[in-house]
């Protein structure tokens, strides 16, 4: 038996060990992996970057804790970016179980970057019926949200003076795990024509690239991969990078084994053929 023949019948436990290590090693020794930035992510980064100081970004975090693993890293990266560059952010959630989670993230990041609620950012809170809420916000943020999440009247929040509706923000980024992306595209971008980008879970991504072509979206953050790319652009490795490093190592291990398997397969097949010819 040659080495390659042995490889054909490799004990599956070596594969298990490799997969186990592929997950355990990144868990213990966190390291950054190379990430190629795709143009649809770069455009979102550039967009946020080009917003002037004291100009506004509108961030909709329309997801429930069940999709936290994929979408929180995006929210963190974008908020970090905005806070670092001193962009003002208006945050809303159109997901029923979103508010607690959004509050936690914004509060944590704000204190990390010394940003003040009501001055540097505002969290409007949650309203049901996303399509209608988007349209009402298109008229005036104060219609669906007379008060922010903390119960302060919008009119008495300093950073919102003179900020009426989507005309006063540079653009909207929607992070979602469900069909709220459709609502933002149709009722938001479609009616009020503001620049719109979305961050979505990996499985949804394929369905939304068509809007990139049609110009209804200027950027897409697809799953943890998108988050990791954004983290690379802001040079702040976070949860997205960690998730991608697990995935990258595990995917590489599987691809490696498939390659080995085929090399061994073809090599042994050729050996058998020559053996057959000699007989």
């Amino acid at each position: 038996m040659t080495f390659l023949e042995n490889l054909m019948k490799i004990d599956r436990r070596w594969i298990y060990l490799a997969i186990g290590l592929a997950v355990i090693i990144p868990a213990i020794a966190s390291f950054t992996v190379p990430v190629t930035v795709s143009s649809e992510v770069k455009k979102i980064y550039d967009f946020v970057d080009k917003i002037g100081p004291n100009e506004y970004l509108f961030l909709a975090m329309d997801y429930d804790p069940s999709s936290m693993a994929e979408l929180n890293p995006m929210a963190e990266a974008i908020l970090k970016h905005a806070f670092m560059r001193n962009r003002k952010v208006i945050i809303v959630t159109l997901a029923q179980f979103g508010p607690g989670m959004v509050e936690e993230i914004t509060h944590r990041l704000a204190s990390e970057y010394n940003r003040v609620n009501g001055v540097d950012y505002v969290f409007l809170g949650y309203r049901p019926y996303p399509a209608i809420t988007i349209m009402l916000m298109g008229t005036d943020f104060r219609v669906p949200f007379p008060q922010d999440y903390y119960g302060t009247a919008l009119d008495s929040i300093p950073m919102l003076h003179g900020i009426k509706n989507f005309n006063n923000v540079k653009g909207v980024i929607d992070l979602t795990a469900g069909n709220t992306a459709d609502f933002w595209i149709v009722y938001g971008n479609g009616r009020y024509n503001f620049p719109l980008a979305i961050g979505i879970t990996g499985v949804m991504a394929a369905d939304y690239y068509q809007y990139l072509q049609s110009g209804q979206l200027f950027g897409i953050l697809p799953g943890v991969k998108g988050a990791a790319e954004y983290e690379r652009l802001i040079e702040q490795p976070g949860e997205g990078m960690a998730q991608v490093s697990y995935q990258l190592v595990a995917h590489s291990v599987i691809i490696f084994f498939i390659v080995i398997s085929n090399v061994a397969y073809f090599a042994t097949r050729r050996q058998k053929k020559t053996a057959g010819g000699a007989r």
Partner: protein, 209 residues
Amino acid sequence: MIGQLILNGIAAFLTLCIFSFLYKDNPFYKFAERLVAGIATGYWTMLLYHTNFKPVVWDRLAAGRYEYVIPTLLGLMMWTRFSRNWSWVSRYSIAFYIGISSGITITLSLYASLFKQLEATVKYPITFDGAGLSSLLIIIGVLSALVYFFFSAAHKGTMGVISKLGIYIIMIGFGAGFGMTVMGRVALLVQRVIFLKGYVNSLAGLFGG
């Protein structure tokens, strides 16, 4: 704190018991397997009791909704299976069970798996641009994959060529499904590893500092 640590310790131990199966079958795995079979059956029994039996059967009968006597009797008739001579009585219950389910299935599968799919297939016009080309290719793909499922025609000649294209397309679908799933499965393992890491860290915190 200590109580939670012990409970987490049990969970961590059982996690390792299951993982040990990857090396080979062993007494630890067998222990975890039997334990969870008992626990799961007990949990399921009580879940059905609290969330189904009590509200749907017991409470309704107690509230005088006597029409529920019929399904209750049918359910009890299943118990005739304990007897060799009377077990045929349970066929009556099974007949209702399967008859009702089959009747629902016909319309449901025609709606969801046939009409919905047909609607999606003939929705977009075939035009001379990227999107139109995609819809043309999808239609060709659907048709040839359907040819693959013909049972009463030999897959020879033209039928053979088209059905071959059909099974190729089906295989691309399977390859894509396989490749897309890897990410989610890896994420499941990551969660278990993070759980174990957290447990080790909390132990270290307890003993180390």
